[in-house]
Amino acid sequence: MSLFKEKSIFNEKFGAYFLIFLIVFLFCIFSVRLWYLQVYKASFFSQKAQDNLQRRQLIYAPRGLFLDRHGELLAVNEPSYSLAVIREDCPDIAATLDQISRWTHTPEDQIHDDFTRGRSMVRSFENQIIAANLSFDTLTRVETESPYWPGVKIVVQPRRRYLQGEVLSHVLGYVARASEEELLKDPELRLGDNVGKQGLEFALEKVLRGQKGLRQMEVDASGRILHEEVLDHPVPGQNIQLSVDLGIQQKAHELMEGKSGSVVVIDADAGQVLALVSAPGYDNNEFVFGISHQNWQDLLSNPHHPLQNRSIQSTYPPGSVFKLVMAGLAHNQPDIRVSERIFCSGSVTLGNRVFRCWKGHGWVDMTKSLVESCDSYYYQLGDRLGVDRISEFALNSGFGRPTGIDLPHERSGLIPTRDWKRQRFNDGWRGGDNFNLAIGQGFILVTPLQVARFVGAIANGGSLYKPSLLLDEKKVDPEPLPWSEASRNFVYQTMIETVKGDRGTARRLHKEGVIVGGKTGTSQVVGLLPQHLEDDPEAVDYWLRHHGWMAAFARKDDRTYSIVVLVEHGGSGSRAAGPVVRDLLDYLFDESHPFQ
C-alpha cells in the first residue's frame, strides 16, 4: 500500500472499496435473480417453454349417424369449412377480424364481439373459430388471400345433414352451435361445436357425440410444424338405428300434407315406433347452418306451430276414443251387464243442463254404444261409475303420465280428479263433469302417442310397452294393462265390430284379409256445434272446427300395428282422420314391401 503514497492525498482506500463493493454487488444481485428464475420458478418457466413449442389441436370425432330400421341413412356428416384464428400468430388482430368480416359479409361488430366472448375459452395457440359454415365462394377467396393474413386458418369440421328434412324433423330434432351456457356446463365442448338441441339429437347427445382426439405438434417460433403426433385418437360417435320405418314415415308425412296433426304407427307386439309424424314439419337442416332471424321468426309466428311435436307435446281431449277406456271399466264391473240397455233419445238432461248425443240411437247396449259411439250411454255410465274410478282406471291404462319415449319435453296430458279440480278451479267435482269425462271431453287431455300405446295394448293382449324409437334398445318389460282378459277382449272385438258393422263409425277402415279394429273420436274445440254445422265442417271457421281422431289396430299373420291419427280442426274423426288411416293400411299391407 505504501506504493500508493503519491496519490494518497485524500481517502486512498475509497476507490478500492468501491470497486470491491461493485464486484460483490454484481455477484450477489445476479445470483439471487438466477436462483429465483432457475430454481424457485423453474417449473413455471419450463411449462411456459413447453407451451411455446407444443401446440395441441383437437381432432373432431364424427357424430354418430342415424339410420332407419332397414339401414336407410337419415342423418349424415359432411365436411364443413370454418374460419379460425390463432391469435398469437396474428400480428394485428383487429385488422384480421375486419378482414374476416369482409370475407364473410358479417358486421364487424359482431365478429369482434364473437372474438371477445370466445377468447377465454380457447387456450393460447389454439384455433378459435370465428366464422362457421363458409360458403364455397368465401372459401375460395379466403384460400387465395389467407397467406397475407398470418394466424388465419381454414378448419374442416364435420357438419350434420338431415337427408329427410321435415319428414323426420320432430324425431331427430337438430344440432346447432353450442350456446355459451352449454359451453360452460360441458367441458368437452369447444367453441364452434354443434350440440343436439332437440329430438333424439338432444336426447342421445352423449352417445352420438363420441370423443374428440388430440394431436400434439412441436412448432418453432414461426409456427412451422416440426413434429406431430396423435395423443388421443378420436372416438367416433355411435351410429343409431331407429325403429322407424322410413317408408311408413314418408307415407304418413305425405298423407298429412296440408293438415295439422299427428300420425303414430307402433308395432304393437314390440312397442317399437314405426312412424311418428307431426304436421306441419320444419326443415331441421336450417338450424345446422344457423337459422336466419327471418326464418326463425317465421317458424315462431306460424299459427300452425311447426316446431311443436304434436305426437308427444300436444294434448287434446280424446273425445269418443275415451269410450274404449269407459267400456273396459264398465265391462269390469260386476253390477254392469253388457246386454243392459238404455234408451238414447238424442240427449240427456241433468238438472237444467242438456247433454246431447250426436244422434238418437234408440235402445243401446254396451256393444252398440261403442260401435255407434252413443254419447247418451256413456253419460249414464259416467254418472254410475264416478270420477274416482274413471280416473284411476284411465291412469292405469297409460293416460295422464308420460309414456317414457326417448324424446325430450314429452307431455303427460291430464286425467282430472276431484283434488285436481279443487286445486285448479277451487270448485268441487260436479255431476256434469262426470258426463263430460265419460265421453272424453272437458278437462281430460291426452297425447296421440298415449292413445297409440293404449290401442297397442288392447291389440297385443294387454301389454303397455314403453314406445321405443331405437331398434336395438333393450326391451323393458311392458306394464300390464290392468284389465281383465274378458274386458280387453270385449273392447278388442267391439273395435273390430266398429269397422265391420254397417253402422260402425270406423267402417271406412274395412280391409279385406286384415283384422282391423278402430274407434273414432271428435274432440270439441268450442263445445258441440249446431246440427247443420256438425254435418258440414267446411262451413265453420278453421280454428273452431273439431279435432278428428282415429285410433286403430290392424293385424295380419303375426304383424300387429297400432295406428293413431289426429287431425287438428279436421271435423269429425271418421271424416278427417279416417282416410289417413285407411291409406296407411293400404300401404302397410301392400304385399310389395314385406315387413321386417
Binding site: E6, L22, I23, A42, N52, V219
Partner: protein, 368 residues
C-alpha cells in the same frame, strides 16, 4: 523491447480467465447459431467468424502490450480527436444496418468507430484524472463531462443509445473512483431529478417504449416485451442443471430473439442451467477482480486509472447485459463481453485487456 522479465510478469490469470470466457462464448455461439430444421440442424456462419475475430483480437491485444503504456499519455489527445473525426464521418458517410448508422466501410471489413471511442474515452479520462491530486470539484466534473459528452452525443445520434450511455457510465465510474468533493456530490444528487425529464425528450420513440416495457413487460407481450419475456422463459426453463448443450428449445426453435448477440446469456442459461450461469457469473467477477488487482499494483496513477477505466468498461457491460437478460433492466443494446457475437466489440475487449496487461507487466519497471 520485450524482455524476458516483462514476459514473466504478465498476469497469466487474467489471460486464463479471458480464455475460459472466450471458449464459453464460442461454444455458446455455436449452439445459438444452430437451429432445427425438421429433424436436422443447421449452423449459421456466426460461429466461425467469431473465431476468426478472436484470432485478430489476440494479435491486437499483443500489440497493445508491446509498448510502454506511459507513451499513451502523450498521444491520448490525438486518438481522442481521430475518434471524434471518425464519429462525424460515420454520421454522414457511414453504412446503415438495420436503421442505425454505425459502420465505416474499410474495404475488407466494416468498422464501428463507436467501439474505438470507448478506448479513447478511457484513455483521455485517465490522462485527465492522473493530473488531478484532489477530490473532484464541480468544475473538474464539468470538464470531464465535456470530454465524454461530445463522442456520446455523436454516438447517440447514430442512434446507439447503449454505447453512448456506456461511455458516460465508464467515465462516471472513473470519476467516483477518483473521489469527489462532498459538496459536489450533494449538488449532483439534487440536480439529477431535474435532468431526467430533460433526457426523456431526447429519447427516440422506440427507446421510450423499451423503458416503459421494462417497467411493465406484460403490457405488450408480443411487441417489445417479447424479448424480455422469452429471455426469462429461456433462462428459467433451464432449471438447476440446464437442458444441455444444443438442447435449449427456446433458442433452437428461435423463440429467443437476438440470441447470438444481446441475448446470448439466455442461451447459456437455458442450456447450462443455474450451475453454469453461476460459474460464468463467477468467472466475470474473478475477471473484474484481477483487473482491480492490476490497478492496485500499478506504479503510477495513469496506469491505475487506465485499469479502473477498463474495469468499468467491462463492469457496466456485464451489469447492463445480464441485468437486461434477467429482466432487471430495460432492453439496451449492450453486448456481454466475450459471449455475445460481435467482431469489433471483441477486438476492443482484447485491446482493453492488452492495456491492463501492459500496465500490470510493467509494475516493477520503475522504482518508487
Amino acid at each position: 523491447m520485450v524482455d524476458r522479465q516483462l514476459f514473466l510478469h504478465i498476469n497469466w490469470s487474467i489471460l486464463a480467465i479471458v480464455f475460459l470466457l472466450f471458449v464459453a462464448g464460442v461454444l455458446n455461439l455455436y449452439s445459438a447459431s444452430a437451429f432445427r430444421i425438421g429433424d436436422g440442424t443447421a449452423i449459421t456462419p456466426f460461429f466461425s467468424r467469431q473465431i476468426l475475430w478472436g484470432g485478430i483480437s489476440v494479435l491486437a491485444m499483443v500489440a497493445a502490450m508491446l509498448f510502454d503504456y506511459r507513451h499513451l499519455k502523450n498521444i491520448s489527445w490525438l486518438i481522442y480527436l481521430v475518434v471524434i473525426a471518425c464519429l462525424i464521418t460515420v454520421l454522414f458517410w457511414g453504412r446503415t444496418i438495420s436503421g442505425a448508422q454505425r459502420w465505416l466501410d474499410l474495404g475488407f471489413f466494416n468498422f464501428q468507430p463507436s467501439e474505438l471511442a470507448k478506448i479513447a474515452v478511457v484513455l483521455i479520462t485517465s490522462v485527465f484524472l492522473s493530473k488531478i491530486n484532489h477530490p473532484l470539484g464541480f468544475r473538474d466534473i464539468m470538464k470531464a463531462l465535456c470530454l465524454v459528452l461530445i463522442p456520446a452525443y455523436l454516438i447517440a445520434s447514430q442512434p446507439d443509445l447503449g454505447s453512448a450511455l456506456l461511455l458516460v457510465f465508464v467515465m462516471a465510474g472513473m470519476l467516483v473512483y477518483h473521489g469527489i468533493k462532498k459538496n459536489t456530490i450533494k449538488t449532483i444528487i439534487f440536480t439529477m431529478p431535474l435532468l431526467v425529464p430533460l433526457g426523456w425528450i431526447f429519447l427516440k420513440d422506440y427507446q421510450k417504449t423499451r423503458l416503459l416495457t421494462f417497467l411493465n413487460p406484460g403490457q405488450d407481450p408480443l411487441g417489445s416485451g417479447y424479448h424480455v419475456i422469452q429471455s426469462q422463459i429461456a433462462i428459467g426453463s433451464g432449471g438447476f442443471w440446464g437442458k444441455g448443450f444444443m438442447e435449449g428449445t427456446q433458442s433452437q426453435l428461435r423463440f429467443l430473439p437476438e440470441k447470438h448477440t444481446d441475448f446470448a446469456f439466455s442461451v447459456f442459461g437455458e442450456e447450462w442451467g443455474f450451475i453454469g450461469s453461476i460459474i460464468l457469473l463467477f468467472l466475470f467477477c474473478l475477471f473484474l477482480y484481477q483487473i482491480f488487482l492490476s490497478s492496485e499494483e500499478s506504479k503510477d496513477k495513469f496506469g491505475a486509472m487506465l485499469c479502473v477505466g477498463v474495469f468499468f468498461y467491462f463492469f457496466w457491460q456485464v451489469l447492463i447485459n445480464i441485468g437486461m437478460v434477467l429482466g432487471l433492466m430495460p432492453v439496451v443494446g449492450v453486448p456481454l463481453p466475450f459471449v455475445s457475437y460481435g467482431g469489433t466489440s471483441l477486438l476492443v475487449n482484447f485491446i482493453m485487456i492488452g492495456l491492463v496487461l501492459n500496465v500490470s507487466m510493467r509494475r516493477y519497471m520503475f522504482k518508487s
